[in-house]
Amino acid sequence: MAGVRLKDLSKSFGAVEVLKGIDLTVEPHEFAVLLGPSGCGKSTTLRMLAGLEPATAGEIWIGERNVTNLEPRERDIAMVFQNYALYPHMTIAQNMGFGLKARKLPAAEIAERVKTAAEMLGITDLLGRRPRELSGGQQQRVAIGRAIVREPSLFLFDEPLSNLDAKLRVEMRTELLQLHRSLDATTVYVTHDQEEAMTMADRIVVMNKGRIEQIGSPSEIYFRPASLMVAGFIGSPAMNFVDGTVSDGKVGTPIGAISAPSLPGDGTKVTIGFRPDDFYFPDDLPEEETAATLSFSVRFVELLGARGIVTMRAGDTDFKAIFEERFLHRFEEGATVPLSLARDRLHLFLKETGERVAPDAA
């Protein structure tokens, strides 16, 4: 298994710059997820890694080889596409063996490898059928099987689960992870689904507008988002934000002053973020850990089961908070409720650049 290195990789379609200098290292055996909103360049990065799009500038290394100018077939990779891309005129067995046939492996070995992979995925009884006779989930398995038989040095996945229904998607996640581990593979996986990224990735690469916003483990991405964009993109419901100006060791905001550790100099315009789970009842939070206690007027409550989402207003901004069901009676529509924010749960970003300032991005 090989690692991947992208060095200052750029891509333009005509005058449109879709990738602006990507630097990324994926370690061998790692499961790396490229995550971002549509149009952020994640799929383009993957397609360039596969050799399906030529790079405008920069280098691509797979293992110890510079593959920047190599054809896809020379890169020793396997890829699973969102729409599965099964050859409609071939049987499942032929589909899975096609890449090996192209590499002129003996028929017996092809059959053997196809059989092994099919058993692994539980699709042995489908081998004689054609793609159109299969359900979406089955086609997905075949597409994965086709990648496995190749025993490539790198697996690429382009939103492979997004055409499946919700239940199947969750099942396939687990299964894909198990496969990744048992094959000891290196995987680069593209998705726009943050839940998928959080549950599957060793490392997440958050991309936005052709740049990498942050690279880190799922918990780093969630608890220490490096920028406003990442903070707003990860987490559901999304992080709450309020703009303010630093003065006197506090941040003055339209909803009240909020104290925070390691503030930049006075007069700096900042954005403070806090997640919906990070509201406390004032009594539950010791004074020294409290950043601020603010008044919110309740607009409505959505019950999700054991928990509920409270939508509240302060100033002219809506905030969302998550509370356990047993506390929800405190949030009657129209009521004004004081809630506290914890100092160590705040995220501080420079308003101008969106860069994280506190707590430091360590």
Partner: protein
């Protein structure tokens, strides 16, 4: 939106009757021509003879004692060669138009070529072939037929290529093929039904043409449609034999066309009209 639910019995009956009437209108000419082909010469020209003792004489005369078998062979050669050339030149081009969106101008040119009135091309083609000494040769007819079969087949295939997801050739390239190999080892086989339909449609067009063949042939190289027209002359007609020739020209086409009916709409749309 098949709307048979809640349709009254009477309405269904009326629908069935009208459709049946339309079927009769379509089938009657075939029936009448078939009867003419097995009627004895004495009654073939009478409009109200329904009972007679059938004869195979016309069929014998046409198949064994006329030029029609030669005309059939001519037509076959022309159609097969024309369609083959059209596929070899049209398929790669259609793929390029579809996959690379190669110039909207090209697409328009193909459509315009497809719709080109034959009147504009027949004059120069005739003169060119005349100078090359190719009048009354199959080669000349083939060249003429290429002018309409090639654009039609290309236009047809664009639509089928448009339906192939781009990932299919991406996958083939990752599986180990060059782009061109991906085209002929994966994409072409994947649209086999579309290619078959385009080929059959092109064959039908070439087989059915009389205009070009009438002007460019005359003797040895007459195709079947020209030969059919020759049965009705100023000296009189031989209705029985003409009926046989018509059936020979028409029945095989009806049979093959049956298989392409469902692909026809996609093809005619040429990647532009999505139904």
């Amino acid at each position: 939106m098949t709307n048979t639910v809640g349709q009254s019995r009477l309405a269904s009956l009326v629908v069935a009757l009208v459709v049946a009437l339309a079927i009769v209108v379509v089938l009657f000419p075939f029936l009448w021509i078939f009867l003419a082909s097995i009627k004895p010469a004495s009654v073939v020209a009478l409009p109200d003879v329904w009972t007679f003792s059938p004869t195979a004489r016309n069929w014998n005369d046409v198949l064994l004692g006329s030029d029609v078998p030669k005309n059939i062979l001519n037509s076959l050669i022309v159609s097969v060669v024309t369609v083959s050339v059209a596929l070899f030149t049209g398929a790669p081009a259609a793929y390029s138009f579809s996959r690379y969106k190669t110039g909207a101008g090209f697409r328009f040119t193909i459509l315009a070529a497809e719709m080109m009135p034959p009147a504009i091309l027949i004059l120069p083609l005739f003169l060119i072939l005349y100078q090359l000494g190719l009048i009354d040769s199959l080669m000349g007819v083939i060249l003429a037929h290429l002018t309409f079969v090639v654009p039609v087949i290309t236009w047809f295939l664009i639509g089928f290529f448009d339906d192939v997801p781009r990932e299919l050739e991406d996958q083939a390239m990752i599986d180990g093929y060059t782009r061109f190999q991906a085209f002929y080892k994966v994409i072409l086989p994947a649209i086999r039904p579309g290619i078959a339909a385009a080929a059959v449609f092109g064959f039908v067009l070439s087989w059915n043409d009389m205009f070009y063949a009438l002007i460019l042939t005359g003797g040895e190289s007459k195709t079947l449609p020209v030969a059919i027209a020759g049965f009705w002359t100023f000296r009189g007609i031989d209705m029985g034999k003409m009926a046989v020739a018509i059936l020979i020209a028409v029945v095989p086409i009806l049979i093959v066309s049956f298989f392409i009916q469902k692909h026809l709409v996609r093809g005619l749309g040429g990647g532009a009209v999505k139904f």
